[in-house]
Symmetry: C2
Amino acid sequence: MAKRIAIAGATGAVGTLVRQMLEDRNFPYETITFLASKRSAGSTIEFKGETHTIKLLEPDAFNDIDIVIGSTPDDVAAMFVPWAVERGCIVVDESGYHRMLDHVPLVVPEVNADAIADHKGIIASPNCSTTQMVVAMKPIHDAAKIKRVIVSTYQATSGAGVKGQQDLTDGSRAFLEEKEHDYQAFSHPIAFNVIPQIGSHKADGYTSEELKMVYETRKIFGDDSIQVCPTCVRVPVSNCHSETILLETERPVSPEEARKLFEDAEGITVVDDLDGGIYPMPNNSDDLDDVFVGRIRKDISCENGLTFWCVSDNLRKGAATNAVQIAELLVSDKYSACGTSN
Amino acid sequence: MAKRIAIAGATGAVGTLVRQMLEDRNFPYETITFLASKRSAGSTIEFKGETHTIKLLEPDAFNDIDIVIGSTPDDVAAMFVPWAVERGCIVVDESGYHRMLDHVPLVVPEVNADAIADHKGIIASPNCSTTQMVVAMKPIHDAAKIKRVIVSTYQATSGAGVKGQQDLTDGSRAFLEEKEHDYQAFSHPIAFNVIPQIGSHKADGYTSEELKMVYETRKIFGDDSIQVCPTCVRVPVSNCHSETILLETERPVSPEEARKLFEDAEGITVVDDLDGGIYPMPNNSDDLDDVFVGRIRKDISCENGLTFWCVSDNLRKGAATNAVQIAELLVSDKYSACGTSN
């Protein structure tokens, strides 16, 4: 059912991708509204061959809207989401602000689409590093119940926004010219370096990014018994997060079984031929919507262990794609009657 | 006791570092000889203010030598080491060629210095990714017996030699200028990318680099019960390997106890203040001899788990430093009578 759609944060890196995806996927809508902060409001953008003026993100902007896709930072989401919900909108929020609230479903369509039905006006999309991991976990969890996850990430600078990508480019150029660069998005040089901290220190030596991977994973699977030990590391890559993932399951899953499960799963593409030097990497996963899995093998340190390598475009499946998929479900026949105002 | 020393592969990246370290550490010698292949033989180098002519690496070059430090690729080691041993030399071999042979001790002085006494003319130095890991494992293993290790690496291009570092620089420059670069040392672009393969496919989906981390670790600790699950990944960093290491021990080791054990251990420097944004990284560990440890914390997925981040200069402790340390032990009073020819 076509709805009145709005995108909040329409001019940011992820908001721009959301616009492109709505266009590419021919998202059905009755009206479409683009919202942004003062800086961008009033400027125009093209969408499906028509010129749209970007409107200011303010309470009354949500008066005639049914579904909002929010691609804003946490503090902006904290401000605008209540305005939208009070006016009867359903908000698909990509920020971290509402994710862990009890009344907010945290949804990755390939994993827990049904949770959408329980929304009270807000549906949250997970953190990028969590999303690709849970998509990869899903078929294995269904087949053999995952008890423990050990994950090390190789995260791209686009996770720190456009400034993060710019820092990598400018910092690399400066380094090669033996010049100084004043980093904007990172507290250490990222050019030709790796930084073992993403987010702030949260608890027990873990960062906020790492604990998102623990608690969001449990919430998405609805299973607090899943144990997760993450280390999140920034690497000098522009876009696409990579992860080494080790899963311990209730019963052994052979690499052959795992490959079959991955191949049959929604949203996963297997890219795995070590002899041929074929596996997912940032440079072959960029600008694609799937979660790519390779290096599938038995964990030789544990009877019930399976390990693999996982790459996905963090701006797409890690943000824009996942939010648009949720919005598509909201306008589908199955969920179109679930809005708080309907 | 001063000996007649030779360096085989004296002009390579690691051989150059070995020369520098022998000079810096005031290594005691009676005579010193620099050996290299045809390409470099005949050229001269400065050592301790004197000019030395590089000699050809050939059988009779070892006639009047006691100790050889070999900084050559595997195939060169396979050729020259027998020449040296037949002539009564003790060879400290940095290549991978002899490491897993039963009669060859594989030595990291901080871990198993005593194994030197058993040599039959060859002492091997481990692979770089193994060396820094076993130095970090040692104090924890002594205190609480390590049963299992899960390690993901972030390995620098210098591990693929000077060509690897050049590929990173030239490839990055080309990428920033939107030009093509023909990679010499890597089968995929390494600039602004990560490659989840180091070495060739060896067995069961693991690469040669990964299986070195399994079997070399067991040999160094003399404990085949240690289970290791490694994933080795190349990152666009010029020098210094980083590793996420998760250890499962026979009894729980608290982060506080681990920190104390690391601080008291030989060859380890703790760099760990997450609140202050302080941890080891390639850009602050370069050109130093120690193994640097940070992000020390409890593995929240397992009762007896401990996890941390470990960085070390792979050309130094991962190669040159370790070999020079072994040579220092060989000329020390304790081991100087162990030579096959003495």
